[in-house]
Structure formats: structure tokens, C-alpha cells
């Protein structure tokens, strides 16, 4: 197995984990909290809010403008 495949599998595994958690949080919200409910707590801090918003905005900028 090449290093590239291992890298791609790593990203795929993380993406699948996120999707799995998202589905689980809707099917069993008492066992797995929804991402938005976790964000609602951690984003009470302004520094966290700004860091998250900037990171999100940068993803959009990077893929749609910054070429």
C-alpha cells in the first residue's frame, strides 16, 4: 500500500467518522450530541467564535478565489 493511499484512507476515515457521528447524533441524540449543540457551548467565547468563522471563511476563499 503506497503512502498516497494511506494518506487518502486517513482523510476518508476521518470524513466517515464525521458523517457517522452526524447520523448517530440525529438517531440517538441522548448518546451522541449534535455538533451544533457542542458549537453552541464552545462558541460562547469570542476567540473561539472568531477562530471558527475565519477558518470556515478561509476554506471558501481557498477553494473558490485563491488560485
Amino acid at each position: 500500500m503506497s503512502a498516497r493511499v494511506v494518506t487518502e484512507l486517513g482523510f476518508a476515515l476521518i470524513a466517515l467518522a464525521a458523517i457517522g457521528l452526524g447520523v448517530a447524533s440525529h438517531l440517538a441524540p441522548k448518546r451522541v450530541p449534535k455538533l451544533t449543540s457542542v458549537l453552541a457551548v464552545v462558541m460562547r467565547r469570542r476567540t473561539t467564535r472568531i477562530a471558527f468563522v475565519l477558518a470556515w471563511w478561509w476554506v471558501g476563499w481557498h477553494f473558490f478565489v485563491g488560485h
Binding site: 457551548v41 476567540t47 471563511w57 477553494f63
Partner: protein, 192 residues
Amino acid sequence: MALSFPGRAGRLTVDLPVVALALAALAHWIRGASADALIFLVVTVILLITERRRTSEESFTAQPFRVPGYTVLAAATLVLAFGRDSVPVAVAISAIGLAALVTEWRDPSLPPDRPVPRRGWVWSAVGLSWCLWELISFVYEQAAGGLSLTHPTMSDLVDPLLTSRLAQAAAIAGWLAAGLAMLRAAAAARRP
């Protein structure tokens, strides 16, 4: 103060989001994206300055800024019409980012009196795993002179998927929908 958690005397801790922003600025500088590095650095510095100022409950805005859901469709239509790397899309994304930043900057931090939901750490684990994996790929990429075929970053993997305008429109709709969901969660955090 941004460099410590207020009200926790004896447990002086570095504010991780501020550190993450500074490290992101450094990473952008290393990869040669000086404009991105400057944006992250400026935001970090302004954040440090604003967090030093004392704020009161009165400084909270009465109503959180609301973005209608149809903006997702509008953004997708814009990309479908002009494609990425066009001036209209650049203006739209800049305006969206600026509006979101100003909206979230208006209100100060709230007291940490709400517990993180039980098992909330699983989401942190996924987020940190992605950051770590991306960092490993980034280091390998830089060591390979900027283009790594053996350890591609997320950008290297996603970018080829965005060649058609249809894929770009779907991607920007997903990006904006995710951002709006995050902003709504942040607005929920400010409700009493």
C-alpha cells in the same frame, strides 16, 4: 484577556483559538501564501486587543444577525453563472466573510456557565484528528518542495473535484450551508 481564562486564578492557560490562529498564520507564511498569513495575523492581533478591553452585559446586541437560507441558492447560482476565481464570486465570498466576522465580533465572550454536552469530546476528537492528519501531510508537502504526490493535503485532493461549475456550485452551497449552521449555533449560544 485573550491569553488566559478569566476567573480561573492559578490555572493560567493559553487561549487555544488565539494560538491556533497564530499558528495558521505561520503555516500560510511557510507555504508562501503571504496574503492569507497577513489576514490571519491581523485578525489575531485585533482579537488580542479587543479581548483586553473589559466589556459589560450591556454591550451584548439585542438580536443576532440573521441570514436568510436562500442566500445558499443565490451563491450556488452565482458560481454556476461565473465560475470560481471570478470577480463576482470573490466579492461575494469577501462580503460573506466580512459580514460573518463583524457579526461574531460584536458580542464579547459569555461566562462559561454552560457545560459541554456529554460525549461532546467525540466531535473534538474528529476535528483534531483532521487537523493532525492535515498537518502531517502539510509537513511532508513542504519537505517535498511544495507538491507532494505521496502525502497530498486536503486541498490537493479536493481541488481536482472542483473542475466543473456544477461541482463548484454544489460545493459552495455546502460551504455556505455549513457556515450558516455554525453561525446559528453561535447565535443560540448568546440566547439567555
